[in-house]
């Protein structure tokens, strides 16, 4: 049963990456969109694109946390104990990101929009970096189990964490750009389609290059992960690479619809690959999934909650996306 809950956890982490991650990536493009005039149209597309969905996407993170602390309390306690600093920065960034995005839509003066926009965009980069660094710390075995904290700084300022952080920023930016190509298309803004298409291609190259460089980092800094990524998890790594290259080809050939699916496949399979590579550890080489697992009553309750989520939340989530994609959720209120 602990295996089933661990799978649920990793599915939720993957969902957060491909849904919530893209909302952060949109913030990255908001940050680099330039001054008020040059950046006006890309920012408009970004606002339209993430406006109705970011809060629902954000809940995936809450869900991950709840499954982790309920199903694997010791792992949650160890992670929060060691990675106090990056998690605190992420929490603050999440507050700034969400609040300033909501605030920006309600103000119309350039100066105000600019300050809220800056807070939104900067924190949109900060949060994925911190969460990526946290993932790197866990994956490289720097979070010890058993109530002892690891090093408060070195645990997340190290080659694997830096790789994790940067990769997270680039990957979500890539995902977001691919989605934004599509969303600009829905708004029939050909110029913006082209704008984001070029950026998606650029981000895909950077992400690919970084992933290749990452192989060397992991080989020296996270041997356990490296060994498993090149054996058990290798098919997923290959799949991710293949999806990434295929999406790139389609973007170059302007076949946007399938590019989006493949981009999700590229990101999803590498996140799942991370999970497979860690198996059977939650905290590599110090805490196994089975050791950290809660009593069966708790795991059962989590699986029941997951079942309810599939029945209740999933249709709602699909409905939200269908309505959004059909342009039925154009803006808040009516004016």
């Amino acid at each position: 049963m602990s295996t089933a809950v661990a799978v649920v956890l990793f599915v939720a982490v993957t969902a957060y990456c491909v849904f919530g991650g893209a909302d952060f990536g949109a913030g990255f493009w908001d940050l680099v969109a330039g001054g008020d005039e040059r950046g006006e149209r890309p920012r408009e597309v970004i606002d339209h694109s993430i406006g109705p969905v970011w809060e629902a996407n954000h809940v995936w993170l809450i869900f991950c946390f709840v499954v982790l602390w309920t199903g694997f309390s010791e792992a949650y306690a160890s992670i929060t104990l060691t990675l106090f600093v990056p998690l605190t920065i992420a929490a603050i960034g999440i507050v700034l990101r969400g609040a300033s995005f909501a605030f920006r839509k309600t103000v119309f003066r350039v100066r105000e929009r600019r300050s809220f926009g800056a807070a939104f965009a900067v924190s949109s980069v900060l949060v994925p970096y911190c969460l990526g660094a946290v993932a790197g710390a866990i994956a490289s075995g720097r979070v010890p189990a058993g109530g002892e904290a690891g090093d408060p700084w070195d645990s997340w300022v190290n080659p694997t964490s830096v790789l994790g952080g940067l990769l997270a920023v680039v990957v979500v930016a890539y995902l977001a750009a691919v989605y934004l190509v599509f969303d600009a298309g829905r708004l029939s803004d050909q110029q913006m389609v082209e704008y984001f298409r070029r950026r998606a291609i650029g981000a895909a190259f950077v992400a690919g290059a970084m992933a290749l460089a990452g192989i060397f980092v992991l080989r020296h800094d996270a041997e356990y992960l490296y060994d498993r990524l090149t054996s058990e998890a290798f098919p997923l790594v290959l799949l991710s690479g293949a999806c990434g290259i295929a999406s790139l080809v389609l973007l170059v050939r302007t076949v946007h619809r399938w590019a989006r699916v493949l981009a999700v496949g590229a990101v999803g399979s590498i996140v799942m690959g991370w999970g497979v590579a860690q198996w059977p550890y939650l905290l590599p080489e110090s805490l196994k999934v089975s050791q950290a697992a809660a009593p069966s009553g708790t795991l059962g309750a989590l699986l029941v909650a997951t079942g309810c989520a599939v029945v209740i939340v999933l249709p709602g989530f699909v409905l939200l996306y269908v309505l959004d994609q059909r342009g039925l959720l154009p803006e808040e209120g009516v004016d």
Binding site: P52, E55, H58, V59, L61, I62, F63, V66, W69, T70, G71, S73, E74, Y76, A77, T80, L81, F84, L87, T88, A90, A91, I92, I94, V95, R97, G98, A99, A102, F103, K105, T106, V107, E148, A149, P152, P295, S296, G297, T298, A301, A305, A309, I312, V313, G316, F317, L320, V322, L323, D324, R326, L328, L329, P330, E331, E332, G333, V334, D335
Partner: protein, 479 residues
């Protein structure tokens, strides 16, 4: 002992500070901020739906406009509520890793269901807020209904977790004190849960109602006596006025539950240092350092009588001295609990009287009270209701001290050993104060803009007065 000190090697004398009081302060501060947004998230959707229903059913343009504007405000308060709530889920681990390591597998269960409801709420609030223009009126109305249901169920789930901390059940410990067996139903439906959950959900309606109504009361006092303000006031105030008497009844039952199940908290509430019968109800007053009650106004026998009316003033109330000093709140905490209790009951009673005034007027002549004094009090009722709720929350949390899990784990044993917590506390306090100020400014700004733009019903999408030839052509049916 957990080590996790940020500054152990750097400058321990200045930067390394005992984390326990700071962890408590940070948790209390962030919860106190988040709890203000909860009522708006839970009850505002309900009020908007009433307005929305009226708007469609009775072709009421003002009601429809209210519903739309409320949904725009909700977009802001819900976003701030969602992110401040997320901070709490980080803090469980960042501030209380030993609590979560030991009890997460029990305490977490209600949150698994809360996550479910919050997810659904986030989905449907987006559909509702963004769907005004292009969904059909009744379809759109129905997308708001899940909001109301999930808001209620979500807060019940969160309170179930808090109730479990007061009434820990549904688990078995082995000889090492580790949790070995968990009964999820026993955890969720713990003994404290039904009354505490009811008290919080109704509080959400009381506070949300008074808070929204107070805005329109202020507007009316400033001379904005149009129908828009009147309808806005009536909907919100009626919700609060109906919920308030119910809340007093539930609160009374909860106090009696405490009398029977958490006697030490009850003794702190009633200022009872030693077990005795014929205990007076002490209004204000405090426990002095020698452990005696001083000051305040005593109503003879009242506390005993209220605890169990069947045995009247001869009801015996267990005193604080029945448990060792390190297993009960300190004198300062007792005084905090007692004062908070007086504030809650005092303001709650005033809110009840205000509701009764409104109720009587409505029954007698189908209209709200005409007196300006009523509007003045209604203007103050919003803030008063928030203070009442915060005071009630202080009673519940401080009254549980020194326990984080009643009778099982103390707060000091639950906290992180990280000596840098004071820094995050200061940073988060500054951030939240900025956030609070900005949120209020933003809401006021929106309201000012709505007033300027107030050009009748031109912006009502499916309002009654729209000329036939202007009927929306872009309306698309929901699949």
């Amino acid at each position: 002992m957990v080590t996790g000190a940020l500054f152990d090697g750097l400058a321990p004398s200045i930067l390394a500070v005992d984390p326990v009081p700071w962890a408590r302060a940070q948790m209390a501060f962030t919860l106190a901020a988040h709890i203000i947004l909860v009522p708006l998230g839970v009850s505002w959707g309900f009020m908007a739906l009433i307005a929305n229903y009226r708007g469609i059913k009775r072709d009421d343009a003002e009601a429809l406009e209210l519903a739309q504007r409320w949904s725009k405000y909700m977009a802001v308060t819900f976003a701030v509520g969602a992110v401040t709530g997320t901070v709490l889920s980080f803090e469980f681990g960042l501030l209380w890793p030993r609590f979560m390591g030991q009890w997460g597998e029990v305490f977490g269960i209600p949150f698994a269901f809360e996550g479910l409801f919050f997810f659904t709420e986030a989905i449907f609030i987006a559909i509702y807020i963004y769907g005004w223009r292009r969904l059909k009126p009744w379809t759109h109305f129905w997308t708001g209904v899940p909001l109301v249901i999930t808001g209620i169920l979500g807060s019940i789930s969160v309170v179930a977790a808090n109730a479990w901390m007061n009434s820990p059940e549904g688990f078995t410990l082995d000889s090492n004190g580790d949790v070995v067996d968990v009964d999820p139903m026993g955890v969720i439906f713990n003994d404290a849960m039904p009354l505490m959950a009811a008290h919080m959900v109704i509080a959400a309606y009381v506070v949300g109602g008074f808070l929204v109504a107070s805005v329109y009361a202020v507007g009316m006092l400033r001379g904005r006596r149009d129908r828009y303000h009147r309808v806005g006031f009536l909907i919100a105030f009626t919700v609060a006025a109906v919920a308030t008497p119910v809340q007093i009844g539930v609160g009374d039952s909860l106090a009696r539950w405490l009398y029977e199940n958490q006697p030490v908290k009850f003794a702190a509430i009633e200022l009872v240092p030693e077990t005795e019968s014929d205990v007076p109800e002490t209004l204000l007053g405090h426990l002095s350092s020698d452990g005696q009650v001083s000051g305040g106004i005593e109503i003879p026998g009242m506390a005993s009588w209220l605890s169990d009316p069947s045995s009247g003033t001869s009801t015996e109330i267990q005193g604080l001295d029945t448990v060792p000093a390190d297993e009960r709140p300190t004198t300062r905490q007792v005084n905090t609990v007692h004062l908070a209790w007086d504030v809650m009951v005092g303001l709650g009673t005033l809110l009840f009287l205000l509701s009764a005034w409104y109720g009587v007027c409505w029954l007698v002549r189908r209209d709200m009270p005409k007196s300006r004094w009523f509007l003045r009090m209604a203007s103050a009722a919003g803030v008063a209701a928030v203070v009442t709720m915060e005071a009630g929350w202080v009673v519940s949390e401080v009254g549980r001290q020194p326990w984080i899990v009643y009778g099982q784990m103390k707060v000091e044993d639950a906290a992180t050993g990280n000596t840098g917590v004071w820094i995050t506390t200061v940073v988060i306090a500054v951030l939240y104060i900025g956030l609070a100020i900005t949120t209020v400014l933003i809401l006021r700004k929106m309201s000012a803009r709505f007033r300027v733009d107030d050009v009748g019903d031109a912006d009502v999408p499916y309002g009654p007065n729209r000329p036939a030839d202007e009927s929306p052509t872009e309306e698309v049916a929901v699949p």
